[in-house]
């Protein structure tokens, strides 16, 4: 069995009508992701990478570069206009975009986890923190109330949300706590693959540091593979072993994070690294 967990090839997402010139008239060299001929937005084009078990891959780039678009497609929040992705689940290979809606839903609920920048996307604010986690357990067919409660409490404790707050509505929680509940929810089904989209953006520095620590601990404890989207080089430096740099919908550089930080090849990456020093 290979150690690969995910293989992404030619992944693309174009918003709009599309014309034959969409690709040749967009990208970093044209300094835009919008086709000047038809107005379509090339949110991501020809994204390729492999991800291995327990590995953290970083995706960095400026606003609008296509980071979230890439992750959303892999979590089935959005469908690609071209490309493929293979998920290696134990001995079984899944051609992800060839699955039917129910199969995709099941994969998303049971085998993947997602943490969004905006907790409103990841949490249901009509119900308690524990209920949010219960929902994922119920989706994976657990029907035992006491067990659901115990596991939800354990997950919240693991992400350092006090059990005493389990039955409260996450509306009343701080931003950092909401992210912890999101992480607990994402981990509920012990997925081998986790997507994290700007999970620390907008939080206090000390809160950011604690959440990043938690993410690293989870990776060590559970061996969860992760794709971490950020525009913060510090997050990449701390978490990601390998990194993709995106600009205007294209991957312009990829490789080991250390090498990218020490010896960036693309002029854009060089500026990015220089400005962060």
């Amino acid at each position: 069995m290979s150690n690969k967990i995910l293989s992404v090839r030619g992944l693309s997402r174009i918003h709009g009508e599309q014309c034959p010139l969409c690709i040749s008239s967009t990208g970093p060299e044209h300094d835009t992701n919008m086709c000047s001929h038809c107005g379509s937005v090339v949110a991501a084009h020809d994204v390729n990478f492999d991800l291995y078990r327990g590995e953290i891959l970083g995706i960095i780039g400026e606003s609008g570069s296509g980071k979230s678009s890439t992750v959303k497609m892999l979590y089935f929040d959005d469908m690609p206009t071209a490309g493929s992705a293979t998920f290696y689940d134990g001995d079984v290979q899944h051609d992800m975009f060839a699955l039917n809606a129910a199969q995709q839903r099941s994969m998303r609920n049971k085998r993947f986890g997602m943490v969004y920048q905006n907790p409103h996307l990841g949490l249901n604010f009509q119900i308690s923190a524990g209920g949010n986690i219960a929902e994922r357990l119920l989706m994976s067919d657990l029907r035992h109330y006491v067990e659901i409660r115990t596991r939800a409490g354990d997950l919240l404790a693991r992400t350092e949300v006090s059990r005493a707050r389990m039955d409260q509505n996450p509306k009343t929680f701080s931003g950092g706590m909401q992210q912890r509940v999101q992480i607990a929810k994402a981990l509920a089904t012990q997925p081998p693959l986790l997507f994290l989209d700007e999970v620390t953006t907008g939080l206090d520095l000390s809160v950011q540091a604690a959440i990043l620590d938690l993410i690293l601990e989870i990776q060590h404890e559970l061996g969860t593979a992760m794709i971490v989207v950020t525009h913060d080089l510090g997050v990449i430096r701390l978490l990601a072993g390998r990194t993709l740099v995106m600009k205007h919908g294209r991957v312009i550089e990829s490789g080991l994070t250390d090498q990218i930080l020490e010896d960036p090849q693309h002029a854009y990456t060089q500026r990015l690294v220089a400005s962060a020093l």
Binding site: A101, A102, R105, N124, I127, S128, G130, G131, A134, E135, L138, M139, R143, H144, Y145, V146, E147, I148, R149, D167
Partner: protein, 298 residues
């Protein structure tokens, strides 16, 4: 049931059963589909009836489409044959379906149209129960978009309903839904079993009688076919409980009229302001009283 299709129009200008034969056929086709896919909400072309939607027009259209001259009909509302609604519906059927017999006795009826209750007396294979439904979709409480609800039903994705039950138990230590308890039919579709109390839910399970549910306003028909699995949504470790009607001392309350301790009771407040209890199924109660007085006479 419908041996006579093409009956001549009555003087009043409408055919037997008020609906024209084409409309009845369409409803029957939808009934067959509903039976074939237990619990699935089959859309149908709900007709305008000479009474407001919400007054049982969904159930009535089922009844009128199924009824024939050799049928005997019972109509109940909240367990009673004598409530205004039940009387109106029964009179409408008598007026538009000459030759049809009506009855209050559960065992005499071939067709029973009901709102809010299933008769206490066990129904048989020879009987059809038509329930009037105001809100056919159990998912409406967790998902406002009908398109998304359809996908959820198709994938049998009821986790969000279960979360609601979870939150209920967290807050109240028990599931507090009293009516319209979400019930899974034949292992797939979850239905809103009309506003019947929890008491009646277990009686849908493996019912010998065909149960048809009609929502006139929402234009949906669904069915619990005879001898079909009907399971209330619950957790493995929290049993589904029906109303237990116990007083402060844990004693099962008895009906004030017939003394029954095994029927579903309505709570009433008498003239003196005291709370009393009485069978909600009025026919059942009367029969119990008759049995008692017959025994006394003997």
């Amino acid at each position: 049931m419908n041996a006579h299709y093409e009956l001549p129009l009555e003087d009043a200008g409408y055919s037997f059963g008020f609906l024209d034969e084409y409309a009845k056929k369409e409803v029957r086709r939808c009934i067959l589909k509903a039976i074939s896919i237990p619990g699935y909400q089959t859309p149908y072309a709900s007709r305008e009836m000479p009474m407001g939607r919400g007054f049982g027009t969904g159930g009535l259209q089922l009844t009128l489409s199924l009824i024939g001259e050799d049928d005997t009909l019972k109509v109940i509302d909240q367990g009673s044959d004598d409530s205004v609604n039940a009387v109106n519906l029964r009179q409408f059927v008598q007026l538009t379906c000459p030759g049809v017999d009506v009855t209050e006795k559960t065992q005499e009826a071939t067709l029973i149209q009901s709102r809010h209750r299933i008769p206490e007396k066990m129904l048989t294979e020879e009987q059809i129960l038509v329930l009037q439904v105001p809100y056919p979709d159990a998912l409406v409480v967790v998902e406002p978009s009908e398109a998304r609800r359809k996908v959820m039903h198709g994938e049998a994705d009821y986790s969000r309903l279960l979360v609601k039950l979870y939150e209920d138990v967290v807050r109240f230590d028990e599931i507090t839904i009293s009516h319209r308890y979400p019930t899974r039919i034949n292992g797939h579709y979850v239905i809103d079993p009309s506003p019947i109390p929890r008491w009646d839910v277990p009686r849908l399970h493996q019912s010998p009688a065909l149960v048809l549910l009609g929502a006139g306003r929402e234009k949906k028909i669904y069915a619990v076919p005879p001898y079909t699995v009907a399971e209330p949504l619950v957790f493995d470790d929290i049993a589904f409980r029906v109303e237990d009607f116990r007083d402060a001392n844990g004693q099962r309350i008895a009906c004030r009229c017939c003394g029954s301790t095994v029927s579903f009771l309505d709570e009433l407040i008498d003239d003196a302001g005291n709370i009393t209890h009485q069978c909600s199924d009025s026919t059942y109660c009367e029969e119990q009283q008759e049995t008692i007085s017959a025994r006394k006479r003997a």
